[in-house]
């Protein structure tokens, strides 16, 4: 007959494993606000905006056109684009998930997730 201690150990082991798993899941997902840039639905760049210490720019070129994107600590925008309507440029900086930047002619989307909770699941 096994002792009570055996079962206590089993419980402790299961609890320890579950806590560890939860910690791993939590640590593996980035904590701050992350900007995800997609072209035609495919992710081309993922930037943890909270880990940006110095601003920089880069250009995303695809078959539809080119967008120059500027990144600063905690925020992101389209600096320049060769699209006809310039809607993406005019929108300016974003730092939360409320309104993603969309360059319709170039099929480019910049979405920020995490960080401060926008409080809504979708915008109409």
């Amino acid at each position: 007959m096994r002792s009570t201690r055996f079962w206590v150990l089993i419980v402790a082991a299961v609890l320890a494993v579950s806590l560890l798993a939860a910690a791993v899941v939590r640590l593996a997902s980035p904590g701050g606000s992350v900007a995800e840039i997609t072209v035609d639905g495919q992710v081309v760049e993922r930037i943890d905006l909270d880990r940006v210490t110095e601003g920089y720019t880069f250009t995303v070129e695809d078959e539809w056109g080119s967008n120059t994107i500027q990144v600063e600590p905690g925020r992101i925008r389209v600096l320049e684009a060769d699209c006809p309507d310039q809607v993406c440029v005019r929108q300016g900086w974003i730092s939360d998930e409320v309104t993603p930047i969309v360059c319709l002619p170039h099929r480019l989307v910049i979405q920020v997730s995490g960080g401060t909770d926008a409080g809504v699941d979708a915008l109409s």
Binding site: V8, T99, G119, L123, S124
Partner: protein, 340 residues
């Protein structure tokens, strides 16, 4: 006894570990129907269902596009006599005719030549003068459109051109919901260029929170609706417009004048079970204005609304009273609950 208790505890801990993992989220972002669409669904089967939903949206885009030369709408607009169309197109033209009658003409799918004259299809904007507007409106009498349900054909009078842009996204949303529901998905939310449609609730059981965009500030929302299993569609003057001589001209035309709708509203949201209906009604309510929209709503049971007027007042139909709340920073707004 103690052993059994310990065993139960161990099982409980194991169960907690397993249920700690939320259903997996699947997402698609696509460009179709001249807009960006985001589809999110949770749980088993969601990934395959989303793939099929995207195929269906692309199929509808090809069928309903006003610029694709292989579409039904192109065939109707450029054909002679009775033009045979797909069941989707036939259904939407029928719905459009019904809404045209019900709304007293506030929703009119034959406004395409007017919208084009104002430059909204090309980007070459201009203010269309009155005599030209009256001329263009002569071709917008949908009473002269012939629809043969048995033969599956649509016949337009000379000079008329259709654009199903005011219904297509909503209909696509309904089709997406059907596909997801049919695949056993119980939690999903899609945003088809501002047309939000939800299936069920969030995976944790709480309702979806849908923000209503502030028509005067693109980066903010002024109110939140907590909904499940509903479509939320907003028409706003801020979505597409141009400015000339200090005046703003938006893309939503009043079928009575051939000029941008000037009803006192700057945003109109329709909420209901059918995305296609809400899509068409949001446009119609925007054209009607607050008072006429409220009267129209009193005669129906199939939708609710949120309207924002030029003074900033928010009009909410009573069916949304419990699910509506002002967003942070908008607590001072006047909210008028409209009763039956």
């Amino acid at each position: 006894m103690r052993r059994v208790g310990c065993l139960l505890l161990a099982l409980a801990a194991a169960a907690a570990l397993l249920t700690g993992c939320a259903p997996e989220e699947h997402e698609e972002i696509i460009f179709a129907m001249d807009t960006v669409m985001q589809l999110q669904a949770w749980g088993d089967g969601a990934e395959d269902a989303l793939t099929r939903a995207v195929q269906r949206i692309n199929e509808l885009d090809r069928t309903l596009s006003v610029v694709n030369e292989n579409s039904d709408i192109w065939a109707i607009n450029h054909g002679q006599g009775a033009v045979e169309v797909s069941p989707d197109t036939l259904h939407l033209v029928e719905l459009a005719l019904e809404l045209w009658r019900d709304t007293g003409g506030a929703l009119n799918i034959a406004m395409y030549p007017v919208v084009r004259a104002w430059g909204f299809t090309t980007g070459e904007y201009r203010v269309v003068p009155e005599p030209e507007r009256a001329e263009l409106l002569e071709y917008t009498d949908l009473g002269r459109l012939e629809l043969d349900e048995a033969a599956g054909t649509v016949t337009l009078p000379e000079g008329m051109e259709l654009d199903l842009g005011s219904l297509g996204k909503g209909y696509a949303g309904d089709q997406v919901m059907d596909i997801l529901r049919g695949s056993g998905v119980t939690s999903a939310i899609v945003n088809l260029g501002g047309n939000v449609q939800a299936l069920g609730s969030q995976s944790d059981g709480s309702p979806w929170r849908v923000g209503i965009q502030d028509p005067e500030d693109e980066s903010a929302y002024l109110a939140v609706l907590e909904i499940s299993d509903l479509a939320v569609v907003t028409s706003g003057g801020y979505q597409r417009y141009f400015e000339e001589d200090g005046q703003t001209y938006w893309h939503i035309m009043d079928p009575a004048t051939g000029a941008p709708a000037d009803s006192g509203l700057i945003s109109a949201t329709a909420v209901g079970a059918s995305g296609a209906l809400c899509d068409g009604l949001s446009t119609a309510l925007f054209v009607m204005g607050a008072d006429a929209a409220a009267d129209f709503w009193r005669g129906r049971e199939d939708f609710e609304f949120v309207l924002v007027d030029q003074a900033g007042t928010i009009w909410v139909s009573e069916g949304l009273e419990d699910s509506f709340s002002l967003a942070q920073g908008y607590e001072d707004r006047t909210v008028e609950v409209v009763r039956r």
